[in-house]
Assembly symmetry: C2
Homo-oligomer: 448 residues x 2
């Protein structure tokens, strides 16, 4: 076989043991919180039929799907022209997110499920995006959703989950919330129900470009001067959530949908306030999130001490499963961005130091007799639940100590000829250099 | 969007919450043992370059690779003929196993790694095999390998890992071992070094077809009658490992490689014997395993109480990384078959009952005032680390109890108007039907 310089496809990554231990720390923390809130795990296949995926992410999304070439002789029986159309040579694709497979799963298995159905899902997704810093072609999503209830307690629960996850990870965050019904209500109230997106984008730019420029932009997008005048009090909203909602109620008095959105947010904020969370939860009218399927609450989480995009986000959707023929099933969910959370924790030095190595003790291997004495000791340490190793070869002491150092193993248990004669182990703390001797029978207890 | 009956590609599976909890139990158990032995996690991308994958699994394996269609306009600039060749329209494939990506990783990152490098990897692999009972197109492999040492302590450690994993899972197993050097030695000793595979296959059939038929088959495969005569004592080997190795030593006296294999096995068996494992570890000369890269010890694990193929297997390889230009790096590893282990545990009823649901308590939701009283109680229970839920809607009691039943939640915490007035929760054990009342302040302690 020819020699070759090995590499991996662009936009993909290997995760080294050090990275994996940090990533697993994040995943384990998130999973633990999901479980505490009664969410159960689900996994779906990496491949879905293209009929499941196509048309769910817009034209741009369709182009970013990774397609699987049909197995066997994909070209058999096809004309030259047909070979130029992906639909003839490919009928499966890699999942693009966890939401569409989840909707597909719920519809396919609706008869077996107990609703409300609370599930979490932590799996990789694939997108043929142009790779760039912080954007990958394979990345994990960590989604948590409850489907089959309109109860706003679910929104409250997601707020608590966000608080608990980031508190456990040590990341200070603020949770921004908005509501699609309020955004629609604003557009409706100023007489431009069709321009909800333009108006939201303009509100979003307020801090950056100032009130006058936002006014100009809205006029340029076809809003009437009167509509822009009516929008102005909304742009200038201030105060706490309660005060903002009170002001909004006056402006949206004529929009039934808008008033419903205000009521939803008030319920959620009241409930959250009673829980007394340390995390700030703020109404932010500039929050829109691109996903068209959201119909109620929208969430976005920002790290307070590190400049990066949102590290978690989600919302309420009233018809996710309608695309698969199961209408009127409301759900709400959020997704945690593992890669960005990893970057924040690395940037702020938040990973616990002991994550660098799970092995607590390395036993030396300094000769046949020493090795024979060490093996039962090693077994007793492992029996006690302490991750431990023996250096597999009878190498020089220096080489074995280097191995412990490079691996980040905190304790070396030395058994040389003197220790063997005395029936003791010399335990060396690799950080302080301190040494002490422990009888064979007490090793497991001493390293625990 | 058109309605469609959703489904998933053949040979793939959704894993429901109940299945996931059982699968995670298996994965967590295996992972915990791997960690206890000092192995560190690694993950590689789902996609590899086809140049990495092709030619590593034989012609049959190449055909079973799932290929990714090139992104963008895959047909641009290609002739009609080129479109009929997969190599022109596809340059990436899904990984087929974890071994080749591991070898690729070690070569690519050799400068950063500390050898011996001990890693485990638990990820799905994909094969375009014909789906059938127990054979899937997407399935997980759980591999553990140490690379960069020839120490037989690694073989011993893998034996211990097998014992510990299956003891923890409650599966009684026997570990069969063989050694490629012995197989080669046998072939060499009877003058047919080129017929190692034929001879091994024949030995394997001994129990099924009997000595005379094996003799006939070997003659049919071109072995001389003298060679078959010389093989006969090997076919009739009996006794414990030690006695078999002693008998073998006489037969293989003229094969240096064979004697080396005997010595290796004796070292491993002696070391294992001193550890006093409960699990039987048996020399089985019929064990060959198909993978050509094995060069020393070979392992296979059989469940003793359930009829199924091997549930774990592996071996020593001396040149896995040579295909990527890094020769002479010896390693040894084993792989655990999660799907078969799942089937054994299901068949023998070995999964703990509490795996059915991680939620311990469901709080009822019987009205506005009741809900307001329950939310802080629920939070206190979750603060205590107990997975708990509130029924999100104010539905009829019967519906809420049914939800708890169907989910398998063992405890329901009822707060109705009477409980609310008295400041107590009625805790109902869903299995026994027993009820007791607990003051609000004591709920978290009571359910813990």
């Amino acid at each position: 076989m020819a020699q070759q310089k090995p590499s991996i496809p662009k936009g993909t990554r290997d995760f080294s043991p050090a990275e994996m231990m940090r990533r697993n720390y994040i995943f384990d923390t998130i999973r633990q919180v999901f479980r505490t809130y009664g969410f159960a795990p689900l996994e779906t296949p990496a491949m879905e039929n293209l009929s499941t995926l196509l048309g769910k992410y817009g034209d741009e999304g369709d182009k970013l799907l990774f397609r699987i070439l049909n197995s066997g002789d994909y070209a058999a029986g096809l004309s030259d022209g047909e070979l130029r159309s992906a639909s003839h040579i490919s009928e499966k694709g890699l999942r693009y997110d966890l939401t569409v497979p989840f909707a597909r799963y719920v519809v396919q298995h609706q008869g077996e499920l107990t609703f409300p159905f609370k599930r979490y899902q932590m799996q990789p997704v694939w997108r043929a995006d142009r790779p760039q810093k912080g954007r990958y072609r394979e990345f994990y999503q960590c989604d948590v959703d409850v489907i089959g209830t309109r109860s706003l307690l679910c929104e409250v629960e997601l707020v608590e989950i966000v608080e608990r996850v980031f508190a456990a990870l040590g990341i200070r965050v603020a949770l921004k919330m908005n509501n699609r019904k309020i955004l629609y209500g604003i557009a409706e109230a100023i007489g431009h129900a069709d321009k909800m997106t333009d108006i939201t984008v303009a509100i979003d730019k307020l801090e950056k470009i100032g009130l006058e420029n936002v006014r100009a932009e809205l006029l340029g997008r076809g809003l009437s001067p009167e509509a822009v005048d009516r929008l102005q009090p909304i742009l200038e909203l201030s105060g706490d959530n309660d005060s903002k909602l009170t002001q909004l109620r006056d402006v949206l008095a004529c929009s039934e949908t808008g008033l419903k959105g205000i009521e939803e947010m008030r319920t959620v904020f009241d409930c959250v306030a009673r829980l007394g969370l340390a995390m700030p939860v703020e109404l932010d009218l500039s929050l829109a999130r691109g996903l068209n399927y959201y119909t109620g609450a929208i969430f976005e989480v920002k790290a307070l001490d590190f400049a990066i995009g949102s590290i978690s986000g989600g919302g309420r959707y009233d018809d996710l499963t309608g695309i698969f023929g199961m209408p009127d099933v409301s759900g709400v969910g959020i997704s945690f961005g593992a890669d960005r959370i990893y970057d924040v924790m690395t940037g702020l030095g938040l990973f616990p130091a002991e994550l660098n190595c799970s092995t607590r003790v390395l036993f030396t291997n300094l000769g046949e007799a020493e090795q024979a004495a060490v093996l039962p000791l090693l077994r007793s340490v492992r029996d006690a639940g302490v991750p431990a190793e023996i250096y597999p070869d009878q190498a020089r002491m220096k080489k074995q100590m280097e191995y412990a150092n490079r691996r980040g193993i905190p304790l070396v248990a030395i058994v040389g000829s003197e220790e063997l004669a005395a029936g003791v182990v010399t335990l060396k703390d690799m950080r302080t250099g301190d040494q002490r001797q422990v009888p064979f029978a007490e090793v497991a207890g001493a390293v625990k």
